[in-house]
Each structure stands twice: as C-alpha cells, then as structure tokens.
Amino acid sequence: MIPLTYYLILSTIVFTIGLYGIMTQRNGVRLLMSVELMLNAANINLVAFSSHNNDMSGQVFTLFSIALAAAEAAIGFAILLSIYRMRDMIDVDNINLLRW
C-alpha cells in the first residue's frame, strides 16, 4: 500500500504550487484557482489522515471544506466580476489605490 508520507508529500507539493501561484499570478481568476489548489491540498491531507487513523470525522471535515471552498469561490468571483465591470481588467497588480 502507499505509505502515508507519500500522500503528505503530494499534498505539500500541491499546496506549494498554490502558494507559488498566489504569489506570482496577476490574473484574479488564476489567484482563485491557486487558493482552490491549497484548500484541496489540505483536503488530501484530511482524507489521508482519516483513512490512516480510521476515523470518519476527517472525511466529514473534507466535505465541509469542499462546500466552504465553493462558497468562497462564489464570493471571490463576484468581487472579481464587480471589479471587472468597473475597470475592465482583473490584474491585481494594477489594483493599488490603497497603499502606504
């Protein structure tokens, strides 16, 4: 069987990709996708641990977190949509009215 550590390394890699994305991507939609990656990395962990510990609550948590990720995405896209309507672009680099 696949040892637990493999799952964890996988999730860490996915999480890091998400982190890298959130630091480098300028497009708002890609930022949201990066966030989803990170949440899913955590979900991998939860399911792996749930199975490993033979405890169901991890999987319940995963279900909840998937639902939350959906809600979060909804709000995120709404905000991006509104910004797009106002400024005709969603490059977060250029959204810097508020600073210093």
Partner: protein
C-alpha cells in the same frame, strides 16, 4: 438531551436575519433602513439572552459546542460591537435599496463570530470562522460603485482565503497526529504532536490563520488597506469584532487544545507581539488618513493583546480578555467618529475627496462638540491614559508581564504605548486647537446614540472596572484548567 435554550442567542439572530431578508422584499428603497431597527432589536434580545446564560458551563451536541464563561464573554463582545455598528448603520444605509442585504450579512457575520466563541471542535471553529469571513468579505465591498471599497474587499478576500487555506492545512496536521478534531480530545492526545517537528509547522500555520484575523505582523498587510477602503461602519466591525474572533479562536486552540506545545507558540507570540506593536505604532505616526491611522493603531493593539499568550499566567489572560472588551468599545467608537466626520464632510461638499483625511478633523470641537469629546476619550483610552478602559486593561496586562519575569517585553510595550500617544495627541490637537472650516453641525441621531453607548462603555470599564475584571477572570479560568 442538550438544552437548546443555550443556543437561543444564535437562533434568535438567525431568525431575525432571515426575517430581514424576507421583509426586504416588501420595503421600498427609501425606508429599508428601518430594518436596521429590527436587527438592533434582535441583537439586543440576543445580548439579553447571552447575559442570562452567563453562569452556564455546559457542552452540547456531542461536544462540538461549549457554553462557558469564555464563550459568553466573547459573545457579549461581538454582540455589543455589532449592536453599535447596527445602530450607526441605520443612518449609513439611509436611502440605500440594499439595506436588507447589509443587515442580513451583518447578522450572519455576528453569528459566525459567536459560533467560533462557542466552538469546542475544530470543524465547528472552521465553519464559524468562514461564516464570519465570507459575510465580511461581502460587507467590505458593500459600496460596489466605489473602487476603493471593491479593492478593500478583494485584498481582504485574497489574503483571507490564503489564511484559511493555511489554517486548514495546519488543522489537518493536528488532526493527523491526534486522530480527533474535538478540542478536549486534542488536548488529551497532543503528546505525540508536541514531540514531533510537524507540531511546530501546525502551530505556525494556525498562528498564520488566526493572525490574519488578529492582524499580527506580518499577516496584517491587508488590514490597513481594507479598513481604509471599506465602509467605515464595516471597518469598525472588522477592527473591533472580527479581530476578536481571531483571539478567541486562538485562546481555544492554543491555550486549551495545544497547551502541551506552549513553548512553541509562547515564543512565537512574544516575537510577533513585539514586531506587531512596534511596527503598528511607528507606521501609524506617518499616516494622514485617520482610518488608516486607526487601522495601524488597531494592529498595534493586537500586539498588546498577543502579550497575554506570551505570558500565559491567569492574570495575563485576564488582562488579555479584558483588553478585548475594552478595545471593542474604544475601536468601535473611534471608527464611528470617523464615520460621522465623513458624513459631515459629505454634507459640506457632495464631491469631497479623502473624507477620512486628518484635515477634516480640524476644529471638530467647535463643529461637533460631542463627537470631538468622545473621540478624545477614545484615543486617550487607546493610548492608555487613566481613567479609561484602555488604562485598566493595560495596567493588568503589563503588570502581569513584569511579574512573570518578561521585563523586556513589558518595557517594549510601555515604550510603545508612550509612542502611540504621539499620533493620538495629534488628533486631539486637530480637533481642539485648529480653526474650524465650517459651522456647527448636529450629529445624526443614530450615530450619536452609538457613539454615546461606546463612550459609556469605555468610561464605565475605566471608572468601575471591578465587575468587568472579575468577569474577565472567570473567562480566563476556563482556559487555565
């Protein structure tokens, strides 16, 4: 079976929120702000119900919720802040046809905070956290035709979701090592976590997740932008209410669940406290936007409260808990004053830019004496001048720090509060010593009521602190078991 009445405050708020949502359909855009009164009544009822259950100590629903002194304390903090914000918002939402959404979301975020305060399970905690976060993302962007408001919402949202991902990742490790998500369960099984390197990772990720809400440096960078861009009443909610949610979550998770890992997080909080208060105060000095200045001041205040985690004696926790209450009133009040000033500026000149600029505070004592006086009390309380709430909390917190031997930390904190006076006194100078640019204006009633209530809170806690200290002590006892 569980006593459902203990969840009555949350149930009442949910029902009121749903009722407002439905009622919104039947009101025209010009009188939707009347729904604010409904929200206010609901919050007041919830406040009474919470106070009624003050002495309860019970665990409900298979151990996922707990009602104890700590949860009740923080619930009262959250409800009070929301109540003040709601009262002020009755004026803010005047003529806005989306007032129903505004109040519904406001109540939802309050419910989220209350769920976090009661959470006895990481799943409950996380879901509550998200409820409060998601509603406030939308509220921060409530002025959707204002680019600044939308920008505030976007930044808040991106950093917020990054933090919740970090937090979830941290939680997953805690769950993996302990095999449970229940907070008492984690406390029992945390031995393996404490002795393995993954424990450190989990602790830091959780700190990042909660530190985002608390606005600890370096997780604070969204806060100044968001507080500045968001509608001022919402800034008050974020700075005074949702920030405290980070603290109560951290109290539950670190002090109760991860007590065995205390060497890790105590050091972490000591470092973060020092950086946070110093950076917050130093940067606040050079701000010209009052909202931004209050935002940095709020960052600095989070640094003071974080000392409670670093010291971790019963007295320090009492001080930290009391500080959250005092800070709730001081900060809400200060932001509401900024909101009133914004209202004043707009009524002077419809197209005014930079309505939160410090220059608008010139001669405020002449134009709105009540507001100016209240602001003076709030900023003096924030800087810790007696006899105000801020002074009492700081006194307890700092004495406990010295008493526990962390003299250097106390010295830095005291120097910082001296430094903070520099920018607080500047506001007073502008209000009292500079010429006014317009005539006298009377504050809109809702704002005035909210400010007076906040003022009363600050002064009562400052002048008659005894019951509040006892109460905070009771709350802190929950943590020390």
């Amino acid at each position: 079976m569980a006593n459902y009445m203990l969840l009555a405050p949350e149930l009442v708020l949910t029902l009121v929120a749903l009722a407002i949502m439905l009622a919104g359909l039947f009101f025209g855009p010009n009188n939707k702000n009347i729904l604010g009164y409904v929200a206010g009544v609901g919050l007041f009822a919830a406040l009474c119900l919470t106070i009624g259950g003050l002495t309860v100590n019970e665990t409900l629903f298979y151990g996922t919720m707990t009602i104890d002194a700590l949860s009740q304390f923080f619930k009262i903090v959250f409800i009070s802040v929301s109540l003040l914000v709601t009262i002020a918002s009755i004026k803010y939402t005047e003529g806005n046809k989306n007032a129903d959404e505004f109040f519904t979301l406001l109540l939802f975020s309050t419910i989220g905070m209350m769920v976090v305060a009661s959470a006895n399970d990481l799943i409950t905690l996380f879901v509550g956290f998200e409820l409060a976060s998601l509603s406030t993302y939308a509220l921060a962007g409530f002025e959707k035709n204002n680019p600044k408001s939308m920008e505030a919402a976007l930044k808040y949202f991106i950093i917020g979701s990054l933090s919740s991902a970090l937090m979830l990742f941290g939680i997953s490790f805690v769950y993996g090592m302990t095999g449970t998500t229940s907070i008492p369960g984690i406390a029992e099984n945390a031995g393996a976590l404490a002795s393995s390197p993954i424990g450190l990772i989990a602790v830091v990720m959780l700190i990042a997740g909660f530190g985002f809400k608390m606005a600890l440096v370096p997780f604070h960078m969204w806060a100044p932008d968001t507080y500045q861009g968001a509608p001022t009443v919402i800034s008050a909610l974020l700075a005074a209410g949702s920030k405290k949610m980070g603290f109560v979550a951290a109290f539950r998770v670190f002090v109760v669940a991860l007590a065995l890992l205390s060497p890790n997080w105590q050091t972490a909080f000591a470092i973060l406290a020092v950086i946070t208060m110093t950076l917050g105060n130093v940067v606040a000095i050079s701000q010209t936007s009052v909202k931004r200045m209050l935002a940095y001041s709020s960052v600095a205040q989070a640094g003071y409260i974080a000392i409670a985690f670093a010291v971790m004696t019963p007295m320090a926790l009492t001080g930290g808990v009391l500080y959250t209450l005092s800070h709730a009133f001081m900060k809400t009040g200060a932001f509401l004053v900024v909101a009133v000033v914004g209202y004043m500026v707009v009524s002077d000149n419809k197209n005014a830019k930079d309505i939160d600029h410090l220059d608008n505070f010139k001669g405020l004592a002449k134009r709105m004496p009540l507001t100016a006086f209240a602001m003076m009390v709030f900023v003096f309380a924030l800087s810790g001048i007696p006899p105000t709430a801020g002074y009492m909390s700081k006194f307890i917190l700092f004495s406990s720090t010295i008493e526990s031997g962390l003299v250097w930390l106390a010295v830095i904190a005291i120097l910082n509060s001296a430094l903070s006076l520099y920018y607080y006194a500047r506001i007073v100078k502008y209000m009292y010593f500079l010429p006014a640019s317009g005539g006298k204006i009377s504050e809109p009633k809702p704002y005035a009521v909210a400010i007076i209530l906040a003022l009363a809170g600050v002064l009562i806690i400052g002048i008659w602190p005894e019951p509040f200290v006892y109460w905070a002590m009771e709350a802190a006892k929950v943590l020390m078991v």
